[in-house]
């Protein structure tokens, strides 16, 4: 038993280190998608919720059901909204094509 949590502590420390390194490379431009993306990934508590909802114990099943619902909201909603945001981040040509009619007067100043 003692070994197990030392092992888990290793995993925790290394994962935190990797996370810190990877995330420090994310530009401020993408900080909101980063937040919603990690939120979707932390929906991994779905794994634990599934184990609770799928057990024999009744109270566990009920609490697990609510937990599965909440975690699924985060997983599905988190990935969906992150993708929606990332789709918007594009490099565009200098003069936006939209609303061209307002620009027909040319560049005289």
């Amino acid at each position: 038993m003692g070994n197990e949590w030392v092992f888990n502590l290793y995993v925790f420390v290394l994962a935190t280190f990797v996370g810190y390194q990877v995330i420090s490379r994310v530009p401020p431009l993408l900080h909101t998608p980063l937040m919603s993306g990690t939120n979707a990934i932390s929906g991994i508590s779905l794994v634990a919720s599934l184990l609770a909802a799928g057990s024999h114990h009744l109270i566990s099943q009920i609490l697990g059901f609510v937990a599965v619902t909440c975690a699924t909201i985060n997983v599905v909603g988190g990935f969906l909204i992150t993708d929606r945001m990332l789709r918007m981040f594009r490099r565009k040509p200098d003069v936006p094509a939209a609303k061209l009619e307002t620009g027909k007067r040319g560049t005289a100043s």
Partner: protein, 482 residues
């Protein structure tokens, strides 16, 4: 096998691997692949071009982890699972597909609440199911999990309420508040210790849960709206730590890894946000911004000064004579949903040959990256969005700056007035540009209560009113000018 034995969610101890069934080995490998995919997903976010591809990897990882768990031998009934998955997916799609981008901080706070609640309930379920079979270590981990989960839950609900305006955005403070919060925190730690000592004490366990719920409310109450970016990042971190604690309790490495990724992301963002305000963590959490200074003082200071109130036409005339323009958006742009109007004004300036850039402060808005998302939504090319460090030297060479609903991030007091509560915060060198056009609802200093000298400088024009309306009239004034 003892039916009450704790669930070994993922990888059993190394010695036991030798005796694992082939399916169990495949499932363990699936979790390892999922963990790698999550890391690659986050790595994709290092540039906007590869980010969507990265996200797909994350989605595959999640699917893999969920399917592997459903095949786990301890999952014996599927009806509750199915119901939860269907209901959760429905709600998840509903709150993500149509929500406007201006509501993103609220949306993020809301989802942190769900994350916290899920981990907390798993903690309660595990505790109740296995009270007698728990090891000391697992009881401790469950205690932390439940405490952090409920803390994240109520804390995020409070943050949501403040952002939504249901609860006042101003800091709510009273005497002895910090003392009480610190007391609650150490009380919870002691209770976890007590529970490890005697795991059958259910009232102690529920005491820990209630303390988490109470502390979430108490800890967010004193924090003002302008500090929300730090709070949201911090709650992100707590949600991750709660998932980690679950991983320790269930001996599940995938939970530990994902939780650690989430936790370190939240921590890093909170540190960046605190740095961008030149304040320590402790100061954000316990400082209650703005209430420190006497609220009567700023108003008195302003009364004697005069400012240039300008019309839309005056501002348009300045813009017509400009060759380079920098926009500085702030929370006010989000409030009046002016991002599209900003883009339209920028587009009509660009058609006149004006060089247009956007200066984005790390703490502009209510969450990290808030302004970037709004401008991206309005179709602004991301190579025109500049960080503080990359644009601050350009102001001296700029003809006109348009401040759209930003305040503290353009306050020169942060650079020279040692008595100002925002002294030391890195701000834009706006005052160096030839002229400054400030779009603001009124001359009211807002709830941060900090006076902004920029508004009273001779080269500053104040155009008061709703930012969106003002921008739209500026666009037509530009058109009528020629």
């Amino acid at each position: 096998m003892n039916p009450h034995a704790p669930i070994q969610a993922v990888v059993p101890s190394p010695e036991a691997v030798a005796t694992m069934s082939p399916t169990a080995i495949v499932l363990s490998l699936a979790y390892i692949v999922a963990a790698v995919l999550f890391i690659l997903c986050l790595r994709g976010l290092s540039s906007p071009d590869g980010a969507r591809r990265g996200l797909v990897l994350g989605e595959i990882g999640m699917l893999l982890a969920v399917v592997a768990t459903l095949l786990h031998k301890d999952v014996v009934r599927y009806e509750w699972i199915l119901a939860g998955l269907v209901l959760g997916s429905g709600i998840g799609v509903a709150i993500s597909a149509w929500i406007p981008m201006t509501k993103m901080p609220e949306r993020i706070a809301f989802s942190h609440a769900f994350g916290g609640l899920a981990t907390a309930l798993v903690g309660v379920a595990e505790y109740l199911r296995e009270v007698d079979g728990l090891t000391y270590f697992k009881v401790g981990a469950l205690g932390f999990e439940t405490f952090l989960g409920f803390l994240t839950f109520t804390g995020s609900i409070m943050a949501y309420g403040k952002l939504q305006g249901v609860i006042t955005g101003a800091p709510v403070t009273w005497k002895g508040q910090n003392f009480l919060n610190i007391g609650l925190f150490f009380g919870a730690l002691m209770a976890i210790g007590l529970l490890v000592y005697d795991r059958s004490q259910q009232q102690v366990f529920f005491g820990i849960a209630s303390t988490g719920l109470a502390l979430g409310v108490m800890a967010v109450l004193p924090i003002g709206g302008a500090d929300m970016p730090v709070v949201i990042s911090l709650l992100n971190s707590y949600a991750g730590l709660a998932a980690c604690a679950t991983g320790f309790a269930l001996n599940s490495q995938i939970l530990i890894i994902s939780g650690a990724l989430d936790g370190s992301s939240g921590l890093l963002l909170s540190l960046l946000m605190s740095k961008a305000m030149n304040r320590s963590f402790a100061n954000v959490l316990f400082g209650a911004f703005g209430t420190v200074s006497d609220p009567g003082q700023p108003a008195a200071g302003q009364a004697g000064k005069s400012y240039n109130e300008a019309t839309v036409e005056d501002a348009a005339a300045v813009l017509m004579a400009s060759q380079s323009v920098i926009f500085i958006p702030g929370y006010g742009m989000a409030v009046s949903q002016a991002q599209h109007a900003v883009r339209d004004l920028a587009a009509s300036l660009e058609r006149r040959g004006v060089d247009v850039k956007y200066a984005i402060h790390p703490v502009a808005g209510r969450m990290p990256g808030h302004m970037n998302v709004l401008l991206a939504e309005a179709n602004v090319s991301y190579d025109k969005l500049f960080d503080l460090d990359n644009i601050n030297d350009d102001f001296a060479r700029t003809d006109a700056v348009i401040v759209v609903g930003a305040n503290d991030v353009v306050n020169p007091a942060a650079k020279k007035d040692t008595s100002s509560p925002i002294y030391g915060m890195p701000v834009f060198n706006v005052e160096q540009s030839r002229s400054v056009i400030v779009l603001k609802r009124s001359m009211n200093p807002g709830f941060s209560g900090v006076e902004n000298e920029l508004f009273f400088q001779p080269n500053t024009m104040m155009v008061l009113g709703d930012a969106k309306k003002t921008l739209l009239s500026m666009i037509s004034a530009l058109k009528d000018g020629h």
